[in-house]
Symmetry: C2
């Protein structure tokens, strides 16, 4: 997916959020935004992919601000709460494969940092579970998983990955495929890093791999050779969230299943779904 | 007032709104936003004044989009509703000078285009009237008006100017000063133009003058010679809204009274008031 007309404002808003999280110094924030304006003007063009253009801008801002992980505290809060919510859900619900797919998508939706209690968020998740997915190709996903010898699972945000763990468990139950779980090489906004996956014991599901880059999604020209090999050899690729969609939708690769909420008008337009729709869909079937 | 760190995001948001109002063509909107990114990178710097930087960007966007007045319909709607609300208010209320000042500020607050009925908006205005101004130097303003031989009134947005008419009437009642009412030379966002003032009969209060430019506020190096002469010779200058504040606060000129709502964090920070505060204050008394 290439940039849409709304991406400029969104990139500026995210830069502002980074400046606000990185420092209390108003002068430094302002100087960072002067730089952001120049970086955005450079990266926002006809051929740009939003996740990649954004990442390049954000990483230069991190350097300028002298803060290599402005979302650190935000991620810690999200992580602690999401873990508790998932614990409550597992005690309470009888989870089949389709429910696990839905939970993985719902994990992409919730902002765990808003300060609600785990109990309140657990209720909210249950409410969302009662709704249908706008596009639901989870039966096909299940069929492919059963058939696959190797599966690559691309994570998205911190917190959400505890919901991914529910789906990863289900995959292990129905498949003997080799399972790879990918995180980013280092901190970028609130994305899951390989460190996060290791800390939270994701080896129990399969092999943890780094995309080899801090750029959001799968920027195929920037990933490590090892990651590219795993990517090329996987029978099925499960791609969580908008960043993975933005980068992988370019490849028209039928092995990819997108699990996400169309959070922004650009992604919704690209998917031809209403904004806010939850989807589990195979790549290239609708384009 | 120079730009703050939040101005980048705000400029981008306004450019997006302009593109959306100017055309339904998504490709043209996107190309306009590519241009906007470059224009903003050029105009957003340490010495920029937000109202001026914004105007320069917006006017180039208008040209690129082939639409010289994207806010035309928005202004027409605002104008019709504000006129009806003011009619209702004048039938219902007993308006003294302080109330007229408050009404002029409240006119700066309301978005008349939201589709509420005049009756509903009239109710809302009455509710706001019951609140105190956060800074209220209207007694001093009244004293100065009574003493002045010439007064310059700088308008802000279309719709709001019908509320200004209430204050202009009051000024006429207590003062024999020569009264100048200024609008912009041509369309810029939803600002009042000289054409608007003429159409709505503002000659009944005094002489209608153009600032001589389409740039928002009073960009002192860009105004016409005639306007500059009037500006320099006025005993009192009543400046409505943020654009006039942003440009005139630079001059530290005690003749200026600002009547506005601190709508954005940057202006609120500059004025040392909470965001959303309504103020009637003399320039340079608090800085």
């Amino acid at each position: 997916m290439k940039v849409h007309y709304e991406c400029l404002t969104c990139m500026a808003t995210q830069c502002q959020r980074i400046a606000e999280m990185a420092t209390q110094d108003l002068e430094l924030r302002k100087k960072a935004m002067f730089l952001a304006a120049k970086l955005i003007a450079r990266e926002y063009h006809e051929n740009a992919i939003p996740a990649i253009a954004g990442s390049l801008v954000f990483l230069e801002l991190y350097k300028f601000l002298g803060n290599d992980d402005p979302f650190k505290k935000y991620k810690e809060r999200s992580n602690a709460i999401a873990r508790d919510v998932v614990k409550l859900l597992k005690e309470k619900l009888d989870i089949d494969f389709k429910t696990a797919v839905k939970l993985a998508i719902i994990g992409n939706v919730i902002d765990f940092s808003v300060g609600f209690s785990p109990e309140k968020l657990e209720e909210e998740v249950e409410k969302m579970l009662s709704e249908e997915l706008y596009i639901d190709e989870s039966d096909e996903l299940l069929r492919e998983i059963k058939r696959a010898r190797s599966i690559l699972y691309l994570t998205d945000n911190v917190g959400e990955h505890h919901f991914d763990a529910i789906l990863l468990e289900k995959i292990k139950e129905v498949s003997r495929a080799e399972l790879y779980i990918a995180g980013k090489e280092g901190a970028i906004i609130n994305d899951v890093t390989v460190e996060d996956l290791k800390r939270d014991g994701f080896e129990r599901f399969g092999r943890i791999v780094s995309t080899g880059t801090r750029i959001v999604g799968v920027p195929i020209n920037d990933v490590s050779d090892e990651f590219r090999r795993i990517f090329e050899e996987s029978d099925i690729i499960i791609a969580k969230g908008q960043g993975n969609f933005e980068t992988l939708s370019e490849l028209k690769d039928e092995r990819v299943f997108f699990l996400l909420k169309a959070k922004c008008p650009a992604v919704a337009r690209e998917l031809k779904v209403p904004r806010g729709a939850l989807v589990c869909m195979r790549n290239a079937t609708r384009r």
